[in-house]
């Protein structure tokens, strides 16, 4: 009955912040700062997420069941401070997949219309 049958398409389109957080978590659990770094790396620094956007999005994604908290532990590559880790849920993975498919179809559509030729006159 309830969220167990939730359709991933109901979440689309995702905001850029949510999409990038899901993408950052796709290859394993991460803490907040690692997510922030990953987003900056995969977007070549075109998206820089502040702590407010990061944790505001995390709060909503937890509520929607897209991610879940793992545990709190130090990150050996940083310091001995304990950090809260997050990971994708099954639903989060399906939503990420659906959004990637949606974006890919948009790109395909743009390519079919030869959008790139507009700029070159």
């Amino acid at each position: 009955m309830p969220t167990t049958t939730q359709n991933p398409d109901e979440f689309l389109p995702l905001t850029p912040a949510v999409f990038h957080i899901l993408l950052a978590l796709a290859d394993g659990e991460k803490h907040g700062y690692a997510i922030m770094q990953e987003v900056e790396t995969i977007t070549n620094s075109s998206i820089k997420m502040g702590p407010g956007t990061l944790y505001g999005s995390i709060k909503r994604m937890l509520a929607a069941g897209l991610i879940q908290e793992a545990d709190e532990r130090p990150d050996p590559s940083l310091d001995d401070q304990r950090r809260r880790y997050y990971r994708l849920t099954g639903l989060g993975g399906r939503v990420l997949e659906a959004e990637a498919r949606r974006l890919a179809s948009l790109v395909a559509l743009a390519q079919a219309k030869e959008i790139s030729t507009f700029g070159t006159g």
Binding site: P2, T3, G52, A63
Partner: protein
């Protein structure tokens, strides 16, 4: 998570300033995520300072202040919306409780009871015309309490939808809409009882739709353990009316009798249903408190659900 004594002085000062401006966020959000935001700020600030020195720190601050301003407004707006919704759900729980009490009382208030009250206020009738007038007023007023009770219960049902709707799929949410429609039909039928015989049919159809769809919600509530207390309450509240109406209708087709003659069954159906509706209203307003409890966090039932890993 709290001390970074080896950090450069500018980073330490920046972290202290950031910790101070976190006060702009709603209290629950700050309690839940404040320490982590501060830690992330410190990590990013240190990184910016190591990579680009003072200009890097300034540029990081510009980004952070913009982010702070935007998200403080967002979170405060979310909080305001959430509080309004929680209040509405609590009120609708009280409304359902009140509706159940009014409905139960409405069976004690018949036309004779109202007529006696009219006599007490206006004095006993001195002519046949006055007697008929008072009788007519009493008969029309007789259905008012039941109508008011049904409307209060309909308000309660809309609160149920608000509170539990998001946890249900589209079909079940549609059930709530039918339920509210059935409630309004019931109220219209009750109000028209003195004017038309067809009003009984309207009333029966309305009751069947209202309690039938609520019984379906009851099944969903039991399966998912939706209520904070015993999740069987909606089913207990809504099972009896559809059963009684169906039996009555079958009897009507078979024998032509308007009402199924079962001693006291109707009284029991009403009492059981309205006691259960009262309990459902109680659970609803209690559920709204559980959801907004600070010990659970910001986004209450869903959060609790997902933190325990109890989700897909």
């Amino acid at each position: 998570m709290s001390t970074f004594t080896n950090d450069p002085r500018l980073v330490r000062i920046s972290t202290t300033i950031y910790s101070t401006i976190l006060v702009g966020y709603p209290r629950l959000f700050r309690q839940e995520y404040g320490p982590h935001m501060r830690q992330v700020f410190r990590d990013a600030c240190l990184n910016a300072y190591i990579r680009s020195g003072f200009p890097g720190l300034l540029s990081f601050w510009a980004l952070t202040l913009f982010d702070w301003f935007k998200t403080v407004i967002e979170e405060q707006l979310n909080r305001a919306t959430y509080m309004t919704r929680a209040k509405w759900v609590r009120l609708s729980g009280w409304s359902m409780m009140g509706g159940a009490v009014v409905m139960q009382l409405s069976f004690l208030i018949d036309a004779n009871w109202i007529r006696a009250r009219i006599y007490r206020v206006m004095g006993a009738p001195v002519s046949q015309a006055e007697y008929d007038l008072y009788g007519s007023i009493a008969e029309r007023l007789e259905t008012f309490p039941a109508t008011a009770g049904i409307l209060l219960i309909v308000l309660g049902i809309s609160g149920l939808r608000q509170h539990y709707g998001k946890q249900l799929t589209g079909m079940w949410q549609g059930g709530f809409t039918v339920c509210v429609g059935g409630g309004l039909l019931t109220a219209a039928g009750a109000l028209s009882l003195q004017f038309s015989d067809a009003a009984w049919d309207v009333l029966s159809i309305g009751l069947f739709l209202m309690f039938g769809t609520l019984a379906i919600f009851g099944v969903a509530a039991v399966r998912a353990g939706l209520l904070p207390g015993w999740s069987g309450i909606p089913l207990l509240a809504c099972f009896w009316f559809p059963l009684f109406i169906t039996l009555n209708q079958v009897n009507r087709w078979a024998t032509g009798e308007l009402w199924l003659e079962l001693p006291h069954v109707f009284d029991w159906v009403f009492t059981l249903s309205f006691v259960s509706l009262f309990l459902l209203g109680y659970e609803l307003q209690r559920g709204s408190e559980v959801r907004s409890s600070p010990t659970i966090g910001i986004g209450p039932v869903e959060d609790r659900h997902h933190r325990t890993g109890d989700h897909p």
